[in-house]
């Protein structure tokens, strides 16, 4: 019978090496910065108009 690993045998996040964490952390951080820039800072007028009140309410520099 084939051995099927149970969920409990998977390594928890805390046991991952720093190198193994580097890629997911970088991906998440870059995605976060990219989204933040697009919503709060990108120049096109259409984006500005759509996000106008949110930009003001989050105190991002606007106009």
């Amino acid at each position: 019978m084939r051995h099927i690993p149970s969920v409990k045998t998977l390594p928890s996040t805390e046991s991952l090496s720093p190198a193994a964490k580097a890629v997911p952390v970088l991906v998440a951080a870059l995605l976060g910065v990219f989204m933040l820039y697009g919503v709060g800072f990108a120049g096109p007028q259409v984006l500005h108009n759509a996000a106008h009140d949110g930009r003001h309410a989050f105190a991002f520099p606007c106009h």
Partner: protein
């Protein structure tokens, strides 16, 4: 681990974005709408206090001093504008949540309590520190050039985040001193200021606006930190 980071950030960002939309509806958005009624067309000298898209009629374009002004799309007043603001808030909250959960992944153990502390740090980095140089501005405020303010804002966020990290996570005193210096640095260099003064937004409106924005942001960050910390902890078996 990537799934744990992304899933906890997306759920926390969606809920916190909806929550902050409700909070903004109490004071912040009414003050924005009130400020817009004081805006007039045109620019003030050397600065960027400008009129908004709301001034341009829906007919496609208008003429101003003989120059054609093309209308750029903007959400209709009312429900459509509100929905775009909620979408903006959800995306912004998710972006902040991604940065938080990326930090959680590097941290030893995070639950809702630790998450709340991380949220307070986020408030200090993304709202408190930038507001010292560039206080929240309602529409119609007089301000320096947008590009200069955006660069200062990003520089201040980066310096504050790095400074706080050095101060909190390093043991050597000299490094902690360097952290404090980084916290102070953006405020000692040239903060972009307008060439002239003369807000179209009344001063009686600006102070309540600043308080409302910062209080709303503080509540938002504490909620986002606690929720993302809770979810990140609960999803620790996600790869």
């Amino acid at each position: 681990m990537l799934r744990q980071i992304l899933a906890s950030a997306v759920i926390a960002g969606a809920l916190a974005g909806v929550l902050v939309s409700g909070l903004q509806a109490i004071r912040v958005v009414p003050l924005i709408l009130e400020a817009e009624t004081h805006e007039t067309s045109g620019k003030t000298t050397g600065t960027v206090a400008t009129a908004h898209h709301h001034d341009v009629p829906a007919s496609g374009h208008r003429h101003e001093n003989g120059i054609a002004v093309t209308r750029v799309w903007a959400p209709e007043e009312g429900l459509e504008r509100t929905l775009y603001t909620v979408l903006t808030n959800v995306l912004t909250a998710t972006a902040f949540a991604l940065l938080l959960t990326a930090c959680y992944a590097l941290s030893s153990d995070v639950d809702w309590r630790r998450g709340m502390l991380w949220g307070l740090a986020g408030f200090a980095v993304f709202h408190l520190a930038p507001s010292l140089g560039l206080p929240p501005e309602p529409p119609g405020s007089t301000a320096a050039l947008l590009h200069d303010r955006q660069i200062w804002w990003f520089g201040t966020v980066a310096a504050t985040a790095t400074g706080l990290a050095l101060l909190v996570f390093h043991r050597k005193d000299i490094i902690k001193v360097l952290g404090v210096a980084l916290l102070a640095l953006p405020h000692l260099i040239d903060v972009p200021q307008p060439d002239t003064y003369g807000d179209m937004a009344p001063p009686e409106l600006v102070s309540p606006y600043v308080v409302a924005v910062l209080v709303t942001a503080g509540v938002f960050w504490v909620f986002l930190g606690a929720l993302s910390g809770f979810l990140f902890h609960r999803m620790k078996d996600l790869k």
